[in-house]
Symmetry: C2
Subunit: 232 residues, 2 copies
DNA sequence: CGGCATCCGGGAAGATACTG
DNA sequence: CAGTATCTTCCCGGATGCCG
């Protein structure tokens, strides 16, 4: 029977510590929680979209995390108006403010000696990594808009005055458009493989201004790896 | 029998995701891991010091986290020379570079509407929070050194040219010295209670230049709270 | 005492199946 | 599509005990 359903304990294991870090971990320290936040940084998503973006998460865990994050005031469950009355999860204002946290974390981890970049990535991951690794100083005199068509998600980026704006949405009229998988876009940006080679091998497609696209992929330098400490 | 001991799994549950965030969580995403890192940010500590600084951690979990962080190249186990041949754990260079991550996280969480600051804090926590919340613009024309004697740990801070340096170590010759618990120092910095009131009530002791100490505690503004989303 | 191994109970995570 | 139910696995937390 589910009579006792009312007596929900609802007390996760908390750190008994007033430190901000400990409190942060009470909020987003559970497994998957921060990755759920990451997936929502470019706008609301549905349950299934989240599930598909997070390889390995199971439905019940995703449910729990969404409940927890909602209870913490980091996201809200919202119902879209009748035409396409699907449910979406959207970060609150404070939730969106976690982006610097997530970026800082990612930038730090990028220096890990044991980072394996051959695994799959979500579209949001690669878009977020561009915001993180963007080096405005490299864009001297550059201006343009670039579109990204990754599977069924589209994004558009604009560079001007050394700044990058990047958001989810249609890329109509962009100067150049990349089409392919998130993983292959990551290779183009970070592996050092020449963009033309990737295009020749049909790994990635670029429509529009190819010269602009080739410059674009040089704006995202990876930090130097930390030296590996005596590992096994 | 422990014959099968050789078949060490050694594979924690990893996120199958090349994103930097996921990798970061593979490194420090386990429970307590980031708090262990935090405790080491001001220098090496012994096993027992860590245990005492982290209310609620159990010895075996601490052992596991130290093993994991060492395997990840974030800290090293070091043996001090014979006079006091105790073992200490010390962050690697890359480990120390996690400070921005930890600070960003703490600053973000400080805006949480449901942060309870009445719980105990470790000495390192409060020192780190000062580095995090320090507002150099408030120190116009201020210069001085301040010591902190928190239980049996001592720290010293120097402010000049709008910058704060803060480290573990003796505070001989400091212009003013705070003596008390980390929790009460936190109250002096963040609760808004006047420093003189805390001194009158014997909660905190200040030796040396009291006027300087009173200015000092105004240099660490807390960010505004995020508005509470419809919570229970 | 410091550091670590071991055993155990509870609960969170993972996988799968099922329902509205 | 959006979850819930159930079962298994494994991690976390606490206690004990070994060993230098």
């Amino acid at each position: 029977m589910k009579l006792q359903k009312i007596t929900k304990k609802e007390k996760h294991r908390l750190y008994d510590d007033a430190c901000g870090i400990a409190h942060a971990l009470d909020l987003v320290g559970e497994r998957w929680a921060l990755l759920v936040m990451r997936e929502l940084l470019f706008g609301p998503k549905r349950f299934s979209d989240l599930r598909d973006s997070l390889p390995g998460i199971s439905a019940n865990v995703l449910t729990q995390r969404l409940e927890g994050l909602e209870a913490s005031g980091l996201l809200v469950k919202r119902k879209l108006p009748p035409p396409a009355a699907s449910q979406v999860y959207e970060l609150t204002e404070w939730g969106y403010e976690s982006e610097p946290v997530i970026r800082t974390l990612g930038k730090w981890a990028a220096r890990s000696p044991m980072h394996d970049p051959t695994r799959p990535v979500s579209s949001v991951s690669i878009m977020l990594s561009m915001r993180t690794m963007f080096d405005g100083a490299r864009t001297k005199g550059f201006a343009g808009s670039i579109g990204f068509q990754l599977e069924d998600e589209s994004f558009v980026g604009r560079i001007a005055d050394g700044r990058l704006e990047l958001e989810r949405g249609p890329h109509d009229g962009a100067d150049a458009v990349f089409t392919g998988t998130a993983r292959l876009l990551a290779a183009a940006l970070y592996s050092g493989m020449p963009l033309t080679a990737m295009i020749d091998k049909n790994m990635l497609k670029v429509d529009g201004d190819l010269a602009l696209a080739k410059k674009f992929v040089t704006f995202f330098p990876l930090p130097a790896k930390a030296q590996a400490a005596s590992n096994s």
